[in-house]
């Protein structure tokens, strides 16, 4: 739901109209909230209807990696940040490290048991809580059923099958491709997550940086191999050019998270009934492991005057059944709240996906996602360097494995230059 560099999430829809602050006995407070995901405004509207004392004012900002995070950080720096912001788990450490977040443990702890434990860990450091989890990003493979039939391929069970399918499609039609290469740190991180590797860890009060670990190298070499044979394209996923190619039948599938579903259905309504979801391809046959791409928390930004009320709203947004149902339907989240995972909204067939109950696949994926992944404290830099390198590799300058190596080095250098302890 976060870090989608797509134009889709940019549709500037402002929240519900401001109907004048009604101060009921001077007790009403207003809390500002900046988010990037589509549909958050509807949850805010639901809250404002039922909570006259705490008014939430929602503003749509660009997705994190295309300026949203910089905007929040700059606002914190300037001392005029909103109370609440939407931040992906991947960039939360970064926000904590720059001192941009309030510690909300005293207000949030009561809600701890309502969430899947690893999402709570992702939103905290030790016993200090910095955010309220909203969702996770279990992954699967979206594919065009009609085109798979046309090229006589079935959803690949392993990455080897996937490469074979890519070959088959491209041989049959030189202008068609099975998919696109990983475009940024979040893509590559998610694929590494599935392969069982880790980029960051902490021990003895030191960061370990292992972006060039064996699993990431394996993933990088795999995609470089497909790229060398020209069996995949390097279009950024889920943006204008990508949608156009999908429409033209030049791209057949996408390995991504649950939140991609509404983006696909809203942008390609004419392809309704021609999509299905299958589990991610595996590194070894018979496995069921999945990666996690994205997922975010609602954080309280530094300088917020009403952290208690802000936390109250954030907890409500992630757990209230009406709000979560809205977020499932309109934002395409997979809830981080345990109660949310029992809602009827995550257990029904989808017309767009040909009547398939796609949540079956995502639930299995979520259950088979390892929970020990840690994000580092300089993800803005990691993302920037990785994106640049992968973009160039896609254009034939440098390679994906070389990018991984150079990002490992630039990340260690960036962390050391800030005085962070980096150890082996």
């Amino acid at each position: 739901m976060l870090a989608v560099g797509s134009l889709v999430t940019l549709s500037a829809c402002s929240g519900s109209g401001d109907s004048g602050g009604s101060s009921s006995g001077g007790k009403s407070v207003t809390v500002e909230f900046w988010g990037a995901a589509v549909g958050l405004d509807k949850s805010v509207a639901l809250w404002n209807k039922s909570h006259p004392d705490i008014k939430v004012k929602y503003s749509q900002i660009p997705a994190g990696s295309i300026g949203g995070y910089a905007k929040m950080q700059n606002a914190v720096k300037a001392g005029n940040a909103p109370c609440l912001g939407q931040v992906g788990y991947d960039t939360l450490s970064n926000f904590i490290a720059t001192g941009a977040l309030e510690d909300i443990s005293q207000y949030a702890d009561a809600g701890k048991d309502k969430f899947v434990p690893w999402t709570w860990q992702m939103s905290s450091v030790g016993d200090r809580v910095f955010g309220i989890p909203v969702d996770t990003g279990p992954m699967a493979m979206y594919y065009r059923t009609d085109l798979f039939k046309k090229y006589k391929i079935s959803p690949p069970k392993t990455w080897d099958d996937f490469a074979a399918a890519a070959q088959k499609v491209h041989s049959a039609n030189p202008s068609a491709y099975l998919t696109t290469t990983p475009q940024d740190a979040y893509d590559l991180g998610a694929l590494t997550w599935q392969a069982g590797g880790k980029w960051f860890g902490t021990a003895n009060d030191r960061w370990q940086v292992t972006i060039d670990n064996p699993q990431t190298s394996k993933v990088a070499q795999y995609w470089q191999g497909l790229l060398d044979k020209k069996l995949v394209t390097s279009d950024p996923m889920l943006d204008t050019a990508w949608f156009k190619k999908v429409q033209d039948g030049q791209l057949l599938s996408l390995v991504s998270a649950v939140w991609a579903a509404p983006l696909i259905s809203k942008n390609l309504p004419e392809l309704s009934g021609k999509w299905a979801v299958a589990p991610m391809p595996q590194w070894s046959a018979g496995q069921q492991t999945a990666g996690n791409r994205g997922g975010s928390a609602t954080v309280v930004l530094k300088g917020c005057e009403h952290p208690k009320e802000a936390t109250e709203f954030a907890t409500w947004m992630s757990t209230d059944s009406d709000s979560v149902t809205n977020l499932i339907k309109n934002t395409g989240i997979y809830p981080a709240a345990t109660s949310g995972q029992q809602l009827p909204a995550v257990d029904q067939p989808s017309k767009y996906f040909g009547g398939q109950n796609i949540y079956d696949v995502f639930k299995t994926a979520a259950a088979n996602t390892s929970t020990g992944w840690v994000w580092g404290p300089t993800m803005s830099q990691v993302q920037s360097d990785m994106k640049d390198g992968l973009k160039k590799a896609g254009a034939g300058q440098g390679t994906i494995p070389k990018t991984v190596t150079s990002v490992q080095d630039s990340t260690v250098a960036a962390m050391k230059s800030q005085g962070l302890s980096v150890g082996k």
Binding site: A70, K77, V125, T202, K391, K392, A395, G419, L420, S421
Partner: protein, 316 residues
């Protein structure tokens, strides 16, 4: 981009008689009064931020351990500057705009001068129309123009690429070899008209007697241009060069927009982009350092050029 109006610099394209007035006491007071609003705004909007950036550049944020506790700001001396000068990406961004400027600025100003001379020539027809046409690109907002060009360049939609393909040429305007030339072309397109107008105004100010005398002496059109007109518009040429140096050093719009479609345009493609990226990844002190270095270099280059041209012969 430098978009200041040329103002007084053009009022005397030819050595005017700068009448010396000795200000009286009353004059001083009213001068101060008139200058105050400007002085206040100039201090608040320009001097103060510059001072703050310089101050910031001598500090750095220090964290320890995992960096998840509060950070401290420590005095760094020239550390940030040393880092910047060893930062290969930052340095190559300078080299890039320098390479671009060395080629693009002369080409653009040569073109602007040629167009201005053509407009100013006796035989020119539809002067007004042509002047408008040349100036039109400058009237478009820079970012809008850049977005338009990015569509014209992007291999999948470019009409040029498609047309060239028809004659059997495979050209990618955003490839590593061509992208800098493509950016240069965008800048030339956007700024030639603006510079042409400045030069043209200077041409208009040349007294008719001068050109007439030259014609009487048997000068043809081109020779009048070479011997009379071009020397007369020298100050305007110097002014447009200085504007262009400043503008090129601060190149931002074109690469920022092209980076969306061109894999070769990195987030550190030009000095300003590199500075912005440092701010984006929360390294504000380093971003301040980079801005100071960029400002100094721009100043040295533009001022150096001015000094250089003034030394070479009298400044008309």
């Amino acid at each position: 981009m430098a978009t200041r109006t040329p103002g007084d610099a053009l009022a005397h394209p030819i050595a005017g008689s700068a009448a010396k007035r000795i200000p009286g006491r009353g004059h001083t007071r009213s001068a101060v009064l008139f200058l105050a609003p400007f002085g206040l705004l100039f201090t608040a909007m320009l001097l103060a931020p510059i001072g703050y950036a310089v101050y910031q550049s001598f500090f750095r944020t220090h964290r320890s351990g995992l960096g998840l506790g509060p950070s401290t700001t420590v005095f760094a001396g020239f550390d940030n500057y040393v880092t910047a000068l060893h930062d290969s990406r930052f340095m190559s961004s300078f080299l890039r705009v320098f390479t671009l400027g060395i080629v693009q600025v002369p080409v653009m100003l040569g073109l602007a001068l040629l167009l201005a001379l053509l407009l100013d020539s006796r035989g020119a027809v539809f002067k007004k129309v042509f002047r408008q046409i040349y100036f039109l690109p400058y009237a478009l907002p820079g970012v809008i123009a850049a977005i338009m060009w990015s569509f014209l360049y992007a291999p999948s939609v470019s009409p040029f690429t498609a047309a060239l393909r028809h004659v059997g040429l495979e050209v990618n305007f955003l490839s590593d070899d061509l992208v800098l030339a493509s950016i240069g072309n965008m800048m030339t397109w956007a700024w030639t008209g603006f510079n042409m107008l400045i030069i043209y105004s200077a041409l208009q100010a040349i007294p008719g007697e001068l050109t007439e005398a030259a014609v009487m002496d048997g000068c043809s059109g081109w020779r009048v241009a070479w011997h009379v007109k071009i020397p007369a518009v020298r100050p305007a040429l110097i002014l447009t060069t200085v504007f262009s140096i400043i503008g090129t050093a601060q190149l931002f719009n074109e690469p920022a927009v092209l980076s969306q479609v061109a894999p070769t345009v990195s987030p550190t493609y030009t000095p300003i982009l590199a500075t912005q990226q440092s701010a984006d990844i929360n390294n504000y002190n380093y971003a301040a350092t980079q801005s100071v270095i960029l400002a100094l270099l721009t100043f040295v280059l533009s001022f150096g050029f001015l000094k250089f041209t003034q030394r070479k012969g009298t400044f008309a």
